[in-house]
């Protein structure tokens, strides 16, 4: 039996300030994981990868990563590394990243 597909999103870092960004269904990049376009099957993930790679001069280090889905259907980090990328350094909360749109 095929392995159950885990939902994925595309993420990378902004070329100018290095901040964490997520690829949206509007084919743009957002600072909020909640905006991320979620691929729910193999084919969608391939499209996502392809579309997200079209910004080589704006976004660097693009990769797909597994996510969990919250009650409202939005992506949430599935691994602690992505959680720290989303939140910013845990030792200096004053430099944390806003997780939700204000």
């Amino acid at each position: 039996m095929a392995k159950r597909f885990k939902p994925q999103i595309a993420t990378g870092n902004d070329l100018l300030d290095g901040d964490v960004v997520y690829f949206t269904q509007g084919l743009k990049w957002s600072r909020f994981i909640g905006d991320a376009w979620i691929a729910t099957n193999e084919e969608a993930a391939e499209v996502l990868q392809k579309e997200a790679s079209k910004f080589p001069n704006d976004i660097v280090g693009v990769y797909l990563t597994d996510v969990a889905i919250d009650d409202e259907g939005r992506a949430r980090p599935d691994h602690f590394r992505e959680d720290f990328r989303m939140r910013g350094p845990s030792n200096r909360p004053e430099h944390g990243r806003p997780v939700e749109r204000a």
């Binding site: 070329l15 290095g18 901040d19 280090g61 599935d78 720290f84 350094p89 845990s90 030792n91």
Partner: protein, 553 residues
């Protein structure tokens, strides 16, 4: 202090201008990321988890007030008001914007600093004893040697693309404060039986995935033979070191697989060939460099009055070391305030340290691999005033060498390579043992924490080493015991299964309780007890359930 020559100055400025052009071409899209990445790394610019990071070398850890002040300026102007001092005597800024980096490098060049050789497979920033030129047990100042090596290695065409990064450390003292046995090459200044100056040369040390201690490749190398000999080591490494596997590419693996005797034979024969090419210019250069490291003009001798204030006395006990001039002292400023991030300093704190150096301490500062800042030449009559000002700035924590003087790498709070966090573990340990009297009762104890197998936090040579790993998507911390980074160096041994994030601090507490239970007298240190009794009592404290099971069996 070493002052840039016109050549140095022009060279550094050219590199800044070159990088400015490269950044512009990246921003307008004419350079791809693949093309740009090696270029930015050659200038110390990394991309971390949340931002870029600029790593700047503090050569052999030495800087003056003006340079420290410039760090403060850079932190305020282009970063977020603080910097992080690392175990390689570097400073890292964690939030630069790409387009600002050329200006930051220009500001560094204004004070004769740069970010070259802080990345890539080249000879990295050469490190040295942070007590250089001040220590009581020093044969000679190791920094002229470090500077000579720096000049020789900067952009050396043969050694810019090595199989892997290459680290050199130098000490001039019997007591090794520079962890020379954990470097690709470790140099110790020594004298032969007739009092001639030279080096003991070690090769093949390193931490990381496969920790190894350096081995003596030459017991006595006459001083004037340094460059042809070190070059021979690099040539042998460059020629026969492995390039097929990144994890086996360091010279320690070559030494291990080839054997030190064969390495010695190869190095010696290459060295003989090199000798002919070195015509003595290197010695003239060395003499010029050495002159620029002349000791400051010390004050005339006077009688020192002992401190009366209890806080001051306690700080002097832990943070102040004897200087080779009896009326002077070496002050270590702790960047390990209770609950703080090890090695971080705010721009205000940097300015205060700079001012103290300028006003009272012959305008010299040092960065130690233990992530503290040193005032190496302090007339003892100023200690009380320095203490008072440090205290106002939150910099007077009297914990040097104690349980809260922890080395911690940036770990997963910043570092893209990390497998777990290290800073918060250090913060929690420090808070747990906040009481300085309790720390003093525990005595000398070195805890070192790395956030991945690369071991930037030197965990293998911590009396207690902590390595953060990712075990099935959860942070997990492995403990090693009995490591030592000094002249009696040893690699710590793994204690057993790792601990979860919320279990690691209690585990460290149990280790320390076990030590207190087993020490034969108050002066017996943690490391001495470990060496006397072995791991058993510590393992029993770490894993009480396993202990109970085996007792029941």
């Amino acid at each position: 202090m070493y002052e840039y020559t016109d050549f140095d100055e022009a060279f550094v400025r050219e590199r800044v201008a070159e990088f400015r052009g490269q950044v512009e071409r990246r921003l307008d899209g004419s350079l791809t990321e693949d093309e740009f990445k090696p270029l930015r790394l050659m200038n110390g610019l990394y991309l971390q988890l949340h931002a870029y990071m600029l790593r700047i070398a503090v050569p052999y850890g030495t800087l003056n007030g003006r340079q420290m002040r410039q760090f403060a300026y850079i932190a305020d102007r282009w970063d977020r008001g603080y910097g992080h001092f690392t175990t390689r005597q570097n400073i890292q800024f964690n939030w630069p914007k790409l387009q600002d980096v050329p200006d930051m490098l220009e500001a560094l060049a204004d004070v004769q600093m740069h970010a070259m050789q802080t990345s890539g497979n080249c000879i990295r920033n050469v490190t040295a004893d942070h007590f250089s030129g001040a220590a009581t047990d020093e044969i000679a100042d190791p920094r002229p040697t470090a500077e000579l090596l720096r000049q020789w290695s900067t952009d050396h065409p043969e050694f810019t693309w090595l199989g892997r990064k290459f680290k050199i450390a130098v000490t001039g003292s019997e007591h090794d404060r520079a962890v020379i046995k954990a470097h690709d090459i470790g140099l110790r200044l020594v004298q032969d039986d007739d009092g001639n100056p030279g080096y003991e040369v070690l090769v093949g040390g390193g931490l990381g995935r496969t920790p190894m201690l350096g081995k003596v490749v030459r017991e006595f190398l006459p001083k004037e033979h340094l460059l042809p000999y070190v070059e021979a080591i690099l040539q042998v490494y460059n020629l026969i070191g492995r390039r097929d596997n990144k994890y086996k590419a360091r010279i320690k693996i070559l030494v291990h697989e080839t054997g030190i005797d064969e390495i010695r034979r190869l190095v010696e024969s290459t060295f003989q060939e090199n000798l002919a090419r070195f015509n003595g210019v290197n010695q003239e250069v060395f003499d010029r460099i050495e002159a620029s490291f002349a000791a400051p003009e010390f004050e005339p001798v006077y009688d020192v009055t002992p401190a009366v204030d209890a806080g001051l006395r306690s700080w002097i006990d832990t943070n102040v070391a004897d200087h080779r001039e009896p009326h002077y002292a070496i002050v270590t400023i702790s960047l390990k305030g209770i609950g703080e991030t090890p090695g971080d300093a705010t721009s205000d704190q940097m300015r205060i340290m700079a001012a103290l150096a300028e006003e009272f301490a012959h305008d010299e500062l040092r960065i130690s691999h233990e992530q503290n800042v040193i005032l190496p030449h302090v007339p003892r009559r100023h200690l009380a005033e320095i203490y008072r000002r440090l205290k106002d700035a939150g910099l007077a924590t009297a914990n040097i060498g104690l349980v809260s003087d922890i080395i911690a790498c940036p770990g997963m709070d910043y570092c893209a390579l990390a497998t777990a966090r290290s800073i918060p573990v250090a913060q929690k340990i420090s808070e747990t043992f906040a009481d300085i009297d309790r720390q003093r009762d525990i005595g000398p104890l070195k805890i070192k924490i790395s956030g991945c197998i690369n071991a930037c936090g030197h965990h293998h040579v911590g009396h207690i080493g902590i390595l953060g790993l990712d075990r099935a998507g959860v942070e997990n911390y492995q403990i090693t015991l009995g490591g030592d980074g000094t002249e009696t160096a040893s690699i710590g041994e793994r204690a057993g299964p790792g601990f979860a994030y919320d279990e690691i601090v209690p585990a460290v507490e149990r280790l320390i309780e076990a030590y207190l239970d087993h020490r034969s007298e108050d002066t017996e240190t943690f490391l001495e007890v470990y060496r006397r009794m072995g791991p058993a009592p510590f393992k029993a404290a770490l894993y009480p359930e396993a202990e109970a099971r085996s007792n029941a069996a």
